[in-house]
């Protein structure tokens, strides 16, 4: 028998995601499931493949989760509207990408969300287009389980306090020091691989 699940309210979802731990995981999954039908709508609307839409939708859900945990979501609209807007923008980006030469498109570190002076933004963007994200991904995989988990948790938007709880560090400060050490190690591995290549 298929069990029907009641849709969670915005406040339940937000509280659950902010609570952290297993409740956060459950609420993340529920958020994804609750508006999953948007994928099908976007497939028709934007003429994108289901896989592209699913990818954009997952990305949008993750962005919403990040905004919720960092309090960027101010509650001026409903969660569905907020998610829909982000998802819509991601679909439009994909359509743009598809209509240009794929090879020439920058691999994708977006600085749009960061508050930076224009020149600084351009300087950083130039540095990043030269880099090799695939190589960095490979080095991340070889970093060791604990360090990798820590970097992934940071990438997912967890605070040092949450990382400390999750990975059983004594304090947030200890977790932060360990995280920065892991990033240093990753940077060294990455630089070494790059110099070997060139």
């Amino acid at each position: 028998m298929i069990l029907l699940k009641r849709a969670l309210s915005d406040s339940d979802l937000i509280a659950g995601i902010k609570a952290g731990g297993n409740l956060r995981r459950n609420c993340e999954n529920r958020l994804y499931e609750q508006y999953q039908y948007l994928i099908r709508e976007a497939t028709f609307k934007h003429k994108l493949s289901p896989d592209e839409c699913a990818s954009a939708y997952s990305d949008a859900v993750l962005t919403v989760i990040e905004h919720l945990t960092s309090n960027r979501f101010e509650g001026r609209s409903g969660l569905k509207t907020y998610l829909y807007q982000i998802f819509y923008n991601k679909c439009v980006d994909l359509v743009r990408k598809n209509s240009t030469n794929r090879e020439s498109v920058h691999q994708g570190v977006s600085l749009e969300d960061l508050v930076l002076p224009d020149e600084t933004r351009t300087a950083l963007q130039n540095l990043m287009t030269e880099s090799d994200l695939t190589l960095l991904r490979e080095r991340l995989a070889s970093l060791g389980d604990k360090c990798r988990q820590m970097v992934l948790a940071w990438g997912e938007g967890y605070s040092d306090e949450e990382i400390a709880q999750h990975l059983q560090y004594q304090t947030a400060a200890v977790a932060k020091t360990s995280r920065l050490r892991c990033l240093e190690r990753l940077r060294a591995l990455y630089a070494e691989s790059k110099s070997r290549r060139s």
Partner: protein, 235 residues
């Protein structure tokens, strides 16, 4: 403090505004610092992409579960369905005859006339049955009662007197006759309990309900006359 620590403080929003402005300027002029910042952002991007890939695998791997949207239409439909079922049950119950109606029907169909075939009966009883069948119930009752004064152990007379009282709606009297009959242990098939139940159903006093249940149960369990009706009425 090394470069990555500074970069982290900058992007985590931990720098005061003046320091923040200075740092943003330094990013334009200090290649080492800019390289650290670029790495920091790339690492975060790659980590995020990795998380996203894992999440996608997890989210898209599970079959979509239907989600019920909480809307007033859903609640209204649910309420309407419940009401419909309740009304249906009520209507169905209304259609079902009550035990009282079944008993009344039994009396008017089965006890309207009595058999006269038994040749061993006395003339008085035969005469009483004749009067009963003609609807002359008081006269019939008079004869049966008179007979019982002389023949108190006559089970047939007890039954006839009880039925006559029942037809006259003299329920207390009828119950008394049927109880006498019920106490008889020498009868092959004792109709006393069933008739008593019948009289009590028609009398319909609060104390009768429990007694009726127990009498009908006894009729069914002991296979006494009226068992088929008792089974039906116990439903």
């Amino acid at each position: 403090m090394n470069e990555l620590e500074q970069v982290d403080r900058f992007f985590q929003g931990e720098m005061p505004e003046t320091e923040r402005r200075k740092f943003a300027e330094a990013l334009k002029t200090d290649p080492e610092l800019a390289s650290a910042a670029a790495f920091y952002l790339q690492a975060r991007h790659v980590a995020r992409q990795e998380v996203l890939a894992e999440k996608r695998k997890q989210w898209e791997g599970q079959p979509p579960r239907p989600v019920v949207q909480r809307s007033w239409i859903g609640y209204a439909a649910g309420l309407a369905a419940v009401l419909l079922v309740v009304l249906g049950l009520w209507f169905w119950r209304m259609q079902e005859p009550s035990r009282r109606e079944l008993a009344d029907a039994y009396v008017s169909q089965e006890l309207q006339t009595l058999g006269t075939a038994m040749s061993s009966r006395s003339d008085t009883l035969q005469q009483g049955i004749g009067l009963y069948n003609q609807g002359k119930l008081p006269q019939a009752a008079q004869l049966f009662d008179a007979w019982l004064v002389q023949h108190a152990t006559d089970s047939d007379a007890q039954r006839l007197a009880g039925l006559t009282a029942l037809r006259q709606k003299h329920y207390d009297q009828a119950i008394e006759h049927f109880q006498h009959l019920s106490r008889r242990a020498d009868l092959y098939a004792n109709p006393g309990p069933f008739y008593e139940a019948l009289a009590r159903i028609q009398r319909n006093r609060p104390e009768d309900a429990e007694a009726v249940e127990s009498l009908l149960k006894r009729v069914v369990q002991e296979g006494l006359p009226g068992k088929a009706e008792a089974v039906e009425w116990m439903k």
